[in-house]
């Protein structure tokens, strides 16, 4: 009798947890898509991670309003992306980027998060390469003072 009650309790708990995980997943899993995949079947309001190359000539950033717009391409399709905020370091035209956000009914991708793609492999700086760049930065800033 008691055993049966315990078992019933366990079943209820497992079922509740399963339902919570299932609804959680269906609501908040984010799918990785390429620009072609998104263009083929865009669903407005659904969260995606979109990966591609920032199209040359498409990048606009207004430091005053922080409005950022660019296009991500995979060579076959090009998706316009808009974001508010500072572009991350390493972000630039011709470079890889992954953005997270939603497709809007107005026909652009509203990004809430922008990640510039690092090259995976660690690359030792050429002798003096970054150091020279840093020295120059230092000089311009010091001249300024």
């Amino acid at each position: 009798m008691r055993r049966r009650k315990l078992l019933a309790g366990a079943v209820v708990i497992v079922a509740a947890l399963g339902a919570m995980i299932y609804t959680g997943l269906t609501q908040s899993v984010v799918y990785f898509v390429t620009p072609s995949e998104l263009q083929a079947a865009p669903v407005a309001g659904k969260a995606y991670r979109l990966g591609g190359i920032v199209s040359p000539g498409s990048l606009r950033w207004d430091p005053q309003t922080l409005a950022l717009s660019f296009a991500l391409t995979d060579g076959k399709a090009t998706i316009p992306v808009r974001h508010t905020g500072t572009p991350p370091d390493l972000f630039g035209e011709g470079r890889g980027a992954v953005v997270e956000g939603r497709w809007t009914p107005e026909g652009y991708f509203r990004a809430t998060l922008i990640m510039a793609k690092h090259s995976e492999e660690y690359r030792a700086p050429e002798p003096g390469e970054t150091a020279a760049r840093h020295r120059e930065l230092l000089r311009t800033l010091q001249q300024d003072r």
Binding site: M20, V30, T84
Partner: protein, 649 residues
């Protein structure tokens, strides 16, 4: 010379650990005390050898021995002194040395008392501990040798990962590994109990302190990790549900469950199988966590990519799980005589439900963490599971746990009478409801925030009620108030230590709730002299400045902040440029306070210093998370005090 010596030391330690483990098994099997003693000495020797290896590796860092690959990759001539020492455990190879060294220390310490008090269990526990040590030493000699040479040695090293140049990173791995390795001790004694068939309470009472210690360090490691994330990563948060964070959080959840369920076994002889399963699960999750972190199977901000090591850990994890399950199956008959649950409203069932919720939370975290792997392997679809999933599923579980935190310690054993429930819970429930209503009246609208605050007030009420009642009894007996309170805490240090730990968790819960609900942020581009405003603060940009440090260049933004007519202060968020990094690293500046922190992150800037973009955050109640950590520390110390002699009381 030093690298060869180090390598030799590790090989010798590996041989001794294997030999000692075998000797301990033989000593336990045929009851030969001399063999067990030999194994104990082998463990001591392993500890000495590992200490030597650790010292040699540290020496290699201090002496800039770039002929050692690990040193060349994790330090350079500009690395400051402290970070050359902490660089020793800043990456994969060294962290495994640290891990093994701590485990060896635990192994030696455990022997001091256990060999007298648990003559039958000790040889087997020692065998398990030495076998785990042997595994780590095998990883060090084969898969990730810390002393591997680099030929030819470079003129300068690559440098430590700049994100790790922080005090948080000095202490975070140490605390975390003390926690991870600490759970090896109860696991080893659980295996010993299964092998010998002594499934009573000995293995639990013997390892109680070890479990609490391990749990505490794991908690501390998680908190320091959160603090590091908050003041280094520059996103204003402390927990991102990153796979590596999850890896450390899962054993914390099951370890917490274990810490509570052993009390039921000690008191009611129930849940013996469950306790063994929990400690096996916890230990397995520490290995699984290491596998996740070190194998690079899951993309994460701080995963190191090391294929071979991942395979080693996965193999060892499989071995541990198989052997443990085999032992449980072998002893299956012995678990039949379990005590039974008397009533739903009882302390036993409150604790059982607490365990169910904790394990459910651990499963949720596990599932969310590995789901991207499953999805890609099964369906070929790349997905990511982020914070929204974890928050959505686990927050209700955590709220349930907070509720039980109030119920468990005060509800009666076996069967709670209506009178018992009224006496203990009516007041606190009214307090909780009142607090929630007050917050609602003050304009809090989120149901989750109200629930969290109401439940926190309820639990605080139960704790205060219990302490006040027990103190009053003593005062009635003629003691003065403060001595009465101190005496109460001292004589029942386990119970009240637990209460203080609960208070710490409640304070952390308030910090988390408040920072999630009430933090605000904005981002603005300012020209020199221009100011932005947020939540009553005025932040004025005064210019940029460049500074040079031994191993990096820093561009510092100068901001003057003020609030109303109050005093002004200068804050200097910066960007650090390291030659070995492709991207600059943000250096946050923040003022912390009990109510709110003002938190500035420098973004883009004009090279001539005329303009800078700054992210301004006002993060509310975050400080209470760290204060909760301190309270949790006090509670743990109280719980760990030696139990006073009952005869004297």
């Amino acid at each position: 010379m030093v690298p060869e010596l180090g390598q030799g030391t590790l090989l010798a330690a590996l041989g001794l650990a294997l030999w000692g483990s075998g000797a301990a098994v033989a000593g336990g099997r045929w009851d030969r005390a001399a063999l067990v003693e030999a194994a104990r000495r082998a463990a001591l020797a392993v500890f000495v050898l590992l200490s030597l290896a650790f010292a040699l590796l540290t020496w290699a860092f201090l002496a800039f021995d770039f002929s050692v690959r690990y040193v060349a990759h994790n330090t350079n001539l500009g690395t400051p002194f402290y970070y050359r020492i902490t660089g020793v455990w800043g990456a994969l190879e060294g962290s495994i040395v640290l891990w093994a060294w701590m485990l060896a220390g635990y192994t030696v310490l455990v022997g001091r008392r256990a060999r007298e008090r648990a003559r039958e269990l000790y040889p087997w526990a020692l065998a398990v501990l030495l076998a785990v040590l042997a595994f780590f030493l095998l990883v060090m000699t084969v898969a990730a040798p810390p002393f591997r040479r680099l030929d030819p040695p470079p003129a300068d090293g690559r440098g430590l990962n700049p994100l790790l140049e922080d005090t948080g990173m000095i202490t975070h791995p140490v605390a975390l590994y003390l926690g991870f390795t600490g759970f090896t001790v109860p696991f080893a004694f659980a295996v010993a109990a299964l092998v010998t068939g002594r499934l009573g309470d000995t293995w639990i009472t013997l390892t109680r302190r070890w479990t609490i210690t391990a749990w505490y360090f794991l908690s501390l490691g998680l908190l320091i990790g959160g603090w590091w994330s908050y003041h280094v990563l520059g996103w204003g948060g402390y927990w991102a549900w990153d796979p590596v964070e999850n890896a450390a959080f899962m054993p914390w959840l099951t370890g917490t469950a274990f810490l509570h369920s052993v009390m039921i076994q000690e008191r009611r002889r129930m849940l013996r199988l469950w306790n063994l399963a929990l400690v096996i699960l916890t230990f397995s999750l520490t290995l699984f966590g290491t596998f996740l972190t070190r194998s690079g199977v899951i993309a994460s901000v701080h995963a190191f990519t090391q294929g071979a090591v991942g395979a080693f850990f996965l193999g060892f994890l499989a071995l541990v799980v198989l052997v443990s399950l085999g032992l449980l199956a072998w002893r299956w008959e012995a678990f039949r005589s379990e005590g039974e649950l008397d009533a739903v409203l009882s302390r036993e069932s409150a604790f059982l439900l607490n365990n169910v919720l904790l394990v459910a939370a651990a499963f949720t975290v596990f599932f969310g963490t590995v789901f991207p792997l499953i999805s890609e392997a099964v369906q070929g679809v790349k997905v990511s599971v982020g914070a929204p999933f974890f928050n959505q599923v686990s927050v209700p579980l955590f709220l349930g746990l907070i509720f039980l935190m109030g119920v468990g310690p005060l509800i009666a054993w076996r069967r709670a009478s209506p009178a018992n429930l009224r006496r203990n819970f009516l007041g606190p429930l009214a307090l909780g409801a009142g607090a929630a209503a007050a917050c609602a009246a003050l304009g809090v609208r989120s149901a989750l925030t109200l629930a969290a605050l109401g439940l926190t007030a309820f639990v605080t009420g139960t704790i205060v009620l219990d302490v006040v009642r027990a103190t009053r009894v003593r005062v009635h007996r003629g003691q003065r108030l403060l001595p009465a309170l101190a005496g109460l805490l001292r004589t029942h240090n386990r119970r009240y230590g637990g209460f203080v730990v609960h208070l710490g968790i409640l304070i952390i819960a308030v910090g988390v709730t408040g920072s999630q609900a009430w933090s605000v942020q904005t981002e603005a581009t300012l020209t020199r002299g221009q100011a932005a405003e947020l939540a009553g603060y005025r932040v004025r940009f005064d210019g940029l400045e460049a500074r040079e440090a031994s191993n990096h260049l820093k561009v510092v933004g100068r901001f003057t902040v003020s609030r109303g007519a109050g005093p002004t202060a200068v804050m200097e968020p910066a960007k650090k440029f390291y030659p070995q990094e492709q991207t600059p690293i943000a250096a946050v500046d923040y003022q912390s306070g009990l109510i709110e922190d003002l938190y500035l992150v420098l973004g883009d800037f004009a090279r001539d210093g005329s303009r800078a973009t700054v992210k301004i955050q006002v993060n509310r109640l975050v400080t209470w998370i760290w204060i909760g950590g301190l309270v949790l520390t006090l509670g743990t110390v109280l719980a760990l005090l030696p139990e006073p002699r009952r005869a004297a009381a």
